[in-house]
């Protein structure tokens, strides 16, 4: 395992990733002792890249994102191990004061619930302006002007009028645009989007996704897109990380993951996606589902975490945890019997 790790380390240092997470472990206290929620998660994000982090609810994807900025509520949450190197510094060991200068400035976050993520008693203009006042140190007047510019950038109609309005006067899509505007105020190098479209209508979803992509082009930020919706990232992300029960089970480029999933879980996820035109190609079929539920993090199976739901389960799966095997820098899979890997280990 260590050998493999050093191997990736060697490879990664050549591409100079923007963010490199390594061996991240997070546990939450419970009455029966600490429960591991994120287990040995490691990944990297290159500058300007969109990376999708996919998994079911409870797979630890949001906790992973929150712990990057030390935002998990503590207690009960604890980051027990790991490194998260961002621009040469370990975010997890950074004192809070320095971390605050990075939050909202170098690394920004967008949340799932635009309806409640804005302060209900502050006009949206003031809320955006406050970010400029804090991180840029602008004067009141300057901050207002900059806030107005941001509103224009995120394509809010009649921005001068909207500046003075309060969140309750706006729709969900509009509020998410405001959140994006706030997140992009300081031109962050990394934008973490935690299910940015989950709470929105489908039509608004695609608008917001388009906006995020557009904004990435304008600001050059890398994006970590967290979602449980594979459809959302199929068209946007360049690489995908699949998480299951707090572990990374597969990583790869979008094409690799969608065309040749190696982990049975990824495959099952893709099978359970409704695809337009599937009937024409394959005839009438029942949409596949994954039987069973995500295991309780306090009571994980002894071997592979997916062993109790895996269609290809063998004896070894039930008592030995598979390791994350890298076939190359982009591609890795945590399975004893990966689906599509050839004998030489290539996908």
């Amino acid at each position: 395992m260590n050998e493999i790790k050093e191997n990736i380390l060697g490879d990664i240092e050549k591409v100079e990733p923007l963010l490199k997470v390594d061996g991240l472990c997070v546990s939450f206290d419970s009455p029966n002792g600490p429960v591991p929620v994120v287990r040995d998660v490691g990944f990297y994000i290159n500058p300007g890249e969109i990376v999708g982090l996919v998994g079911e609810s409870g797979s630890g994807k949001s906790v992973t994102a929150l712990s990057l900025l030390s935002l998990i509520p503590s207690p009960p949450g604890h980051i027990t191990a790991g490194r998260s190197i961002f621009e040469g510094n370990d975010l997890l060991k950074m004192p809070n004061k320095r971390l605050r200068k990075i939050r909202g400035n170098r690394i920004s976050m967008i949340f799932q619930e635009p309806m409640t993520s804005l302060n209900p008693l502050m006009s949206v203009g003031d809320q955006i302006a406050e970010v400029f006042r804090l991180h840029v140190g602008s004067s009141k007047v300057e901050a207002k002007e900059l806030a107005l510019k941001m509103l224009k950038k995120v394509q809010i109609p009649a921005p001068e009028k909207r500046m003075k309005e309060f969140p309750f006067q706006m729709s969900g899509g509009m509020r998410q645009r405001i959140m994006i505007a706030m997140a992009l105020c300081c031109n962050p190098t990394l934008l973490i989007a935690d299910e940015p479209t989950t709470a929105l209508d489908v039509t608004i979803q695609s608008e917001i996704m388009d906006l995020i992509i557009e904004m990435r082009q304008e600001f050059g930020s890398a994006v970590l897109m967290i979602t449980h919706d594979l459809g959302v990232i199929a068209e946007t992300a360049e690489r995908i990380i699949v998480m299951y029960a707090g572990q990374i089970v597969e990583t790869g480029s979008v094409n690799e993951i969608f065309d040749a999933p190696a982990h049975p879980y990824t495959n099952a996820l893709l099978q359970s996606l409704p695809v337009l035109g599937r009937r024409a190609r394959f005839g009438r079929q029942r949409l596949q589902e994954i039987t069973g539920t995500v295991p309780d993090p306090a009571d994980l199976p002894a071997g592979c975490a997916f062993s109790n739901r895996c269609p290809n389960v063998q004896d070894i799966c039930k008592d030995t945890s598979p390791l994350l095997n890298e076939t190359n820098i982009q591609r890795s899979v945590r399975c004893h019997f990966p689906l599509t890997l050839n004998s030489d280990g290539e996908a």
Binding site: L69, L71, L99, R100, K101, I102, R103, G104, N105, S108, M109, F111, E113, T116, S117, L118, N119, P120, L121, M122, E130, V131, L134, H135, F168, Q169, M170, S171, M174, M179, M182, A183
Partner: protein
């Protein structure tokens, strides 16, 4: 929503309108007491017209010293309202600061502040105020201090409870993710969102403070004679209750109306500040 609609919406709250108008009348009465009162409350004493029934000249009658009861009631509003206002400013300041600290930091800070609050709550306010008054001596200033220091536990507990729920709100999480510091989050994000219930408890507390002042003045510990205070007037009228009932009825009525008005006003404030009602009234439709 324009100003006109906003005012209309406020006018629909009966409690607020009725309570508010009475509070306004009493406040105006206190401010313009010299213009309203036909006699001086202290120096216009005349033993020749002692304990006269209410009539055209003395509409509330006269007291034992021949002073006009109406004038004394009007001037008494100054004492009662100043007690309500000043003690509630002290109470709210102490309560909100401690509540914010306890709710935001939690842990040991919370335990300590809540312990202190529980101790305060376990001692009856009157007994505690009496103890302070006994050690400081009677008088109006000491009354402010005594009542200001005894009644903050309610606003402290309410603030803490509000902070506990507000600090889990998504906008506070978002503020953390934007790199806002603790002070900025406490005062910029959390405080404005918890002020509604605190305002209500402050208004209701003012009514309670006025009652307490009356009680302490009745016991001879509040404003000292000849200063006109409603509680003090009641206290000196208790022997003449059957011979000159107007001496106790009118100051008593004044206390009753003021406390009722403040309570109605507080209830009305609670109704309009309740976010669930707000959504209903505003109709929160995006345009």
């Amino acid at each position: 929503m324009n100003m006109h609609q906003r005012i209309l919406r406020l006018l629909r709250q009966k409690n607020l309108v009725i309570g508010g108008s009475f509070v306004a009348i009493i406040v105006l009465m206190a401010i313009f007491a010299p213009l309203i009162a036909p006699f001086d409350p202290v120096s216009d004493a005349d033993l020749m017209r002692s304990e006269m029934r209410p009539d055209g000249t003395f509409i509330f009658g006269t007291d034992t010293h021949g002073r006009d009861v109406f004038s004394r009631v009007v001037y008494g509003a100054r004492i009662s309202l100043s007690v309500g206002l000043i003690t509630q400013i002290i109470n709210t300041f102490i309560g909100v600061s401690l509540g914010l600290l306890a709710g935001y930091w939690g842990g040991k800070t919370d335990d300590m502040i809540m312990g202190l609050t529980n101790i305060m709550l376990s001692i009856p306010v009157v007994v505690f105020a009496l103890a302070i008054m006994a050690s400081l001596g009677p008088g109006l200033i000491n009354l402010y201090i005594a009542l200001g220091l005894t009644n903050w536990s309610y606003s402290c507990r309410i603030t803490r409870a509000q902070v506990l729920s507000a600090k889990k709100a998504d906008y506070v999480k978002a503020a953390h993710s934007l790199g806002y510091g603790h002070i900025r989050i406490m005062f910029g994000q959390i405080m404005p969102n918890i002020l509604g219930p605190v305002l209500v408890i402050t208004t209701l507390g003012a009514a309670e403070a006025i009652l307490l002042e009356a009680a302490l003045s009745f016991l001879g510990l509040g404003a000292q004679p000849p200063t006109p205070s409603w509680g003090g007037m009641l206290s000196s009228a208790r022997n003449q209750f059957f011979t000159a009932p107007w001496l106790s009825i009118f100051p008593g009525l004044a206390i009753f109306v003021t406390v009722l008005a403040l309570n109605l006003f507080g209830d009305g404030l609670r109704d309009i500040l309740d976010p669930r009602n707000k959504a209903k009234n505003v109709g929160s439709k995006p345009k």
